[in-house]
């Protein structure tokens, strides 16, 4: 117990986890936007858009996140001098959000597409028969029902995203896993307490997400 107090006094553990939560929030937002656009592409009647959506999903889903993250720092920032912010550290934060978003957009796209599959074909046919073209039909009829069916798989993507934010350590973002390394470097005498701190920290972040999405998926499911 004393060890925990020492650790929390010496290091800003809460601050580090707060960075992970912020990464999760922004990456969830951007990957939802990007993933929805991709999902619409994949169900669209235009073959080239379908092809692009499929290609994006297959490329990014099969590229390790670490590689995308390292590309963000070593290629975009260091070689191409891409700066997403004038502030030195905020730039790395945004590059990390960008990497997390493009990676998880592929999974979000697939989750939404699985939601689309829960919508009976009759809905689309009815939409077209009252004169709606593809985009209004998708936006007004298909997607609202698809999202409600996709809450559970989207929750899984969100949980994976929350844990994957630790990869941002390779993009020079001062988050929890980097702090853990620092703590092990300086306080190996408190190894057990360090391990428990970070294990419990992630449990505290992930379990509420799981409970919330499970509850929401039941609440929002379209009764058929």
């Amino acid at each position: 117990m004393e060890g925990f107090l020492e650790l929390f006094g010496e290091y800003d553990v809460v601050g580090a986890f707060w960075v992970n939560i912020q990464l999760t929030f922004w990456a969830a937002l951007w990957s939802l936007v990007l993933g929805t656009i991709l999902a619409v592409m994949r169900i669209s009647p235009i073959a080239s858009l379908r092809w692009f959506g499929t290609a994006y999903v297959n490329i990014f889903r099969n590229t390790p996140l670490t590689i995308i993250m390292v590309f963000g720092t070593l290629a975009l920032w260091s070689q191409l001098q891409v700066n997403l912010s004038g502030d030195f550290q905020l730039n790395f934060f945004r590059l990390a959000v960008l990497s997390l978003s493009v990676y998880h957009a592929a999974f979000v796209c697939e989750a939404i597409r699985s939601g689309v599959n829960t919508v009976p074909l009759g809905q689309a046919e009815a939409a077209r028969s009252i004169g709606l073209s593809f985009l209004p039909a998708a936006w007004l009829i298909i997607l609202p029902q698809a999202f409600r069916g996709a809450v559970a798989p989207l929750g899984n993507v969100l949980i994976a995203l929350a844990k994957n934010t630790t990869v941002a350590a390779v993009a020079s973002v001062a988050e929890a896993s980097g702090l853990m390394k620092t703590m092990i470097e300086f306080r190996p005498d408190l190894m057990t307490q360090i391990f428990l701190t970070f294990a419990l920290g992630f449990v505290l972040i992930v379990i509420p997400i799981g409970l919330l999405t499970t509850w929401a998926s039941k609440k929002l499911a379209v009764a058929r």
Binding site: V70, T73, L74, W77, S78, Q79, Q81, F88, Q89, F92, A169, V170, S172, A174, G178, L179, M180, K181, T182, I184, E185, F186, R187, P188, D189, M191
Partner: protein, 283 residues
């Protein structure tokens, strides 16, 4: 049908028993073997695999200053080079791997600190390093930590050097944290980073690789003191013997030769005030 199912289950159980019996046997064999630590056995030595000039895996053979000292010490303890089993010990896992008896000795840029002594014991030191700066060889502006105003520095996530920059230079310099020094050097080649900072001998090792030769120089103005020790288990009885071996290595010149060989081409000289080091007393 039911009979065959029982037969399969019985066979599986028997197989499991036999296998576990085997495991028990071989386990006690190796345990009694390592307790003797006779010259017929092997010794497990932990090193870095990704630190050129100190501990580096060159596809099955290992090179570097840590490796050379380890080979010498192992030789003095009665183990030939073919009896050494090299094991990778990344920074964050060194204490655990000693405590869980996965290695016998660690030579992996392992600084002796009081908090580490709570978990493991140290022999040595076999080298005293100091935090320094690596810059492009045409850079004459940066000659020490006082010239870092507005510069961009790179170090490894969670390292002592990175923490030192945060504690003492945070207002002047920007710090980029990368998973390893190789990424830092890559970013410096691209021009986004002005200096890489960590212990001088690690920097010298980086600068002397074939790919980097002539491109970078070690500034040579150290601003900390890191005593590299040999990590051993707390109840190990090898400490005195290891110290004697290191002293012998320093005396017969093999120590200095090993440093020269592993930092060749980096224009590096070790801090002669602190090196060669005198051994700390064994606990």
């Amino acid at each position: 049908m039911r009979n065959t199912r029982y037969a399969v289950a019985a066979m599986a159980a028997a197989a499991a028993l036999t296998l576990s019996a085997c495991g028990g046997d071989s386990g006690s064999d190796s345990a009694s073997g390592s307790a003797d630590s006779g010259s017929g056995d092997s010794i497990r030595i932990g090193i870095k695999f990704d630190q050129p000039g100190l501990g580096f895996d060159e596809g099955g053979s290992y090179s570097g200053f840590d490796v050379d000292v380890a080979k010498y010490v192992a030789g003095e303890l009665g183990y030939g080079e073919d009896q050494i089993e090299w094991i990778e010990t990344p920074s964050a896992q060194r204490e655990n791997m000693l405590e869980n008896d996965q290695v016998d000795m660690i030579f992996a840029t392992y600084s002796i600190t009081d908090t580490r002594k709570e978990k493991v014991a140290f022999a040595g030191p076999y080298f005293v390093a100091g935090q320094d700066l690596l810059v492009r060889s045409d850079d004459s502006e940066i000659t020490g930590p006082e010239d870092l105003n507005g510069k961009t520095l790179c170090s490894v996530t969670g390292s002592t050097s990175a923490q030192k920059v945060k504690d003492t230079l945070a207002n002047e310099a920007n710090l980029v944290e990368q998973p390893s020094y190789a990424e830092c050097v890559t970013a410096m080649q691209g021009g986004a980073i002005d200096a890489v900072t960590t212990d001088d001998i690690i920097l010298a090792g980086l600068a002397s690789t074939d790919a980097n030769k002539g491109q970078f120089k070690v500034v040579g103005n150290t601003f900390s003191e890191e005593k590299y020790g040999v990590g051993i288990q707390k109840d190990s009885d090898k400490c005195e013997d290891i110290n004697a071996a290191i002293e012998k290595m320093i005396e017969d010149g093999a120590w200095e030769e090993a440093i020269k060989k592993n930092t060749e081409g980096a224009d590096y000289t070790f801090n002669a005030d602190l090196n060669p080091p005198t051994m700390d007393a064994c606990a």
